[in-house]
């Protein structure tokens, strides 16, 4: 494993593939950050990525205060969910959520009282615990419970991901502009938690004066071991594997984690969330979210409570509903189109895009793959997207797995360039989910086989014993003495068994 000292942040590497995209970020940045008002209703989804569903610990009719825990995870992989404002729980039920395909999940609906009354937040002792109680999950999009990343040791480098690479999204840049101090605090806390020797703060080179601003703060506060580095603007430089490659020249092993290299990657938002909790005692209740797109009159960044309905934010940004063809949570490359705007945003929602018909329209219809290889050229994971597509189309999922399907980061670059306009990423999502399902069934059937064989073995043994016994009986019948003895023995055994049974368990 590489040591921290061997990483020279000044020297950049590059990753294969990737795209140069128009970034469209200035519009929303120019209008600055606004505080969103408190909506009438909050929709808090209990499913935070990877299917970790938290269980509600409040009931319909309960009054809740801001910052109060309303759902607890049932496994270690989950995270806490807090009420993001005070009010009354008016429903707990299945609704669409701001997740892939607007999946249905349990959602707690809070009707706010607009008083925004805080509850008291208990103090925590270690930073890792703080991360957990603050309900912090990765805010870079994946929503991975952050405290899990700090369970490993041997971590030498913390990479702070400010390379917001998708077009339109500017929430991270806004955050860096407006809260540089909290950010630096968060980073130092994280370094402490991970016992890391250094932190590399990566920015895309298209951002303006942020680097000098942060450098200044670092210098002023005399903080060592934090370096700010600008990386080239190539989509998806913000993907953690690509970012690590660019900064260190190392590749996260296929199927592995950054942890395997002794690295943790963390979004800037995540860092700030930690600072918020440790410095101000505020759990993760609020995030910065970009509202943009050509159907938005006044694109801007909002600081919004989690659970705020999309419609509430859109209203504040002069939204033109008739013009809108698609409403996307996330960026144009990886985001998910929402069927309607009554869905609450969650901790990972970084952008709302309202796009008009002209902007979303394909220039041709979807045709079969012509194997043109464009997708191969742009794939940052160095896969053969067209082969994957071909195998998945033909239901040959094992072959897709052999072609490293699971190394696909679903960045959508391949689908973007495809002249046949194939929804490639959909195929990969389908295949991944189906393979997971089949694997699950396989383990289940293997277990069943073992259980069955054990049972067969047991039955066989019983049968053999019975046969043996019968033989013995036959044998014994010639020997009356022995017969009597055996009879007695059997009776004894039965009696003993009865006694045992009557005993309480």
């Amino acid at each position: 494993m590489l040591k921290a000292t061997e990483i020279t942040p000044a020297h950049l590497y590059s990753f294969k593939g990737g795209l140069k995209l128009k970034h469209h970020k200035r519009d929303s940045l120019d209008n600055g950050l606004s505080q969103s008002s408190i909506p009438d209703k909050l929709y808090l989804s209990l499913r935070i990525n990877r299917g970790n569903i938290a269980n509600p610990i409040v009931a319909v009719g309960d009054n809740v205060l801001k910052g109060q825990v309303i759902a607890k995870p049932d496994t270690t992989n989950g995270s806490y969910i807090h009420a993001s404002s005070s009010g009354k729980v008016t429903a707990i039920g299945i609704r669409e959520t701001a997740s892939p395909n607007a999946d249905y999940a349990t959602v707690i609906e809070i009707t706010t009282d607009k008083k925004d009354q805080w509850c008291t937040i208990a103090k925590t002792h270690s930073i890792t615990e703080a991360i957990k109680s603050a309900g912090i999950v990765g805010m870079g999009g994946a929503g991975f419970p952050t405290h899990l990343k700090y369970q490993g040791n041997n971590i030498h480098t913390l990479i702070i991901n400010g390379a917001e690479c998708e077009p339109y999204i500017s929430c991270d840049e806004q955050l860096m502009l407006d809260y540089p101090n909290d950010l630096i605090d968060g980073i130092t806390l994280m370094m402490k938690a991970a016992d890391a020797e250094q932190a590399i703060f990566a920015l895309e080179d298209q951002v303006g004066g942020i680097k000098s601003q942060i450098d200044k703060i670092i210098a002023k506060r005399k903080i060592e071991h934090i370096v700010v580095v600008k990386v080239p603007t190539i989509y998806p430089a913000g993907g953690e594997k690509q970012l690590i490659k660019v900064l260190t020249g190392l590749e996260v092993p296929s199927g592995g984690l950054p942890l395997d290299l002794g690295i943790i990657v963390q979004n800037v938002g995540t860092a700030k969330a930690l600072a918020d909790y440790c410095k101000h005692g505020r759990p993760l209740l609020e995030r910065i979210i970009t509202v943009a797109g050509d159907a938005i009159g006044k694109p801007q960044n909002f600081s919004a409570l989690t659970g705020t309905p999309i419609s509430h934010l859109l209203q504040q940004a002069e939204f033109d509903k008739d013009k809108t063809e698609r409403l996307v949570i996330g960026g144009p490359m990886m985001g998910y189109a929402m069927p309607n705007c009554d869905i609450g945003i969650d901790k990972t929602s970084n952008c709302i895009l309202a796009l008009s018909h002209e902007n979303t329209q394909h220039h041709g219809d979807s045709l079969p793959c012509i194997r043109c290889g464009k997708c191969v050229e742009v794939c940052p994971s160095q896969l053969l997207p067209q082969q994957l597509h071909w195998y998945i189309k033909g239901e040959n999922l094992e072959k897709a797995r052999e072609h490293h399907l699971f190394d696909c980061i679903e960045c959508g670059a391949c689908a973007w360039v495809c002249p046949s306009q194939i929804k490639l990423v959909d195929y990969y999502r389908y295949a991944k989910s189906e393979i997971n399902y089949l694997d699950y069934k396989r383990t289940k059937s293997d277990a069943a086989q073992i259980r069955h064989e054990q049972r067969e073995g047991r039955l066989l043994k019983i049968k053999q014993e019975r046969i043996a016994k019968r033989k013995r009986t036959k044998h014994r019948s010639k020997n009356p003495d022995k017969m009597k003895q055996d009879l007695q023995a059997t009776l004894d055994r039965v009696k003993k068994a009865k006694e045992q049974k009557n005993e309480p368990k």
């Binding site: 079969p368 071909w390 195998y391 189309k393 033909g394 040959n396």
Partner: protein, 192 residues
């Protein structure tokens, strides 16, 4: 030496047994659904074919000719092949279960592969000596394996294409074989 080289090249490409001489087509159609089976069949055939062309050579030169029983050549060659196949199968089954697993189901099919008997007969017709017979047998089976393996990779890809219903399976395989044989016509005339 160069003579042997030409025998080899000629039997593999120019007079490819399967696509040019039309021998061994049944396994080509039957055992080419997937790459692994095709390779297995090819290897098994290579082994049996090389071995049986050597044995056939001995039988012919040291038994049939001295006894003036040349008209029994087909009979004796096919017997040799059947026995070779059988013995190979039995031995393999015991000594290398792993290899048997790979080749096992293909071995019995080799007896009825025209190419095997074809090689033995052509060896006589062309009056090849021992080394030439062995090389010819080996080369013929390499050519066979090559086509089989290429064909299987193509068929694996076709499996997933939207073929017209009535051409699925055998017909498209035959068309593919036809186009392959057109491609092989390019080798025509290279060794005179």
């Amino acid at each position: 030496m160069s003579e042997l080289f030409f025998i080899f090249i000629s039997a593999v490409f120019i007079n490819n047994f399967v696509l040019v001489k039309f021998l061994g087509l049944c396994p080509l159609m039957g055992v080419s659904g997937k790459y692994e089976s095709a390779l297995g069949m090819g290897l098994a055939t290579t082994f049996v074919l090389t071995l049986s062309s050597i044995i056939s050579y001995f039988i012919h030169t040291y038994l049939l000719i001295p006894l003036e029983l040349e008209y029994l050549k087909t009979l004796s060659f096919i017997l040799v092949i059947a026995v070779t196949v059988q013995v190979t199968e039995l031995i393999l089954h015991k000594t290398s279960p792993l290899l048997y697993q790979v080749l096992g189901i293909f071995l019995p099919l080799i007896t009825t592969n025209c190419a095997v008997l074809g090689v033995a007969l052509l060896n006589i017709q062309q009056q090849n000596n021992l080394i030439e017979s062995a090389v010819f047998g080996f080369a013929a089976s390499v050519g066979f394996t090559l086509v089989l393996v290429l064909f299987s990779a193509i068929r694996e890809r076709l499996e997933m294409a939207d073929l017209p219903q009535s051409f699925k399976g055998t017909p498209i395989a035959l068309i593919t074989a036809g186009l392959m044989s057109i491609a092989f016509m390019g080798f025509g005339g290279m060794v005179r």
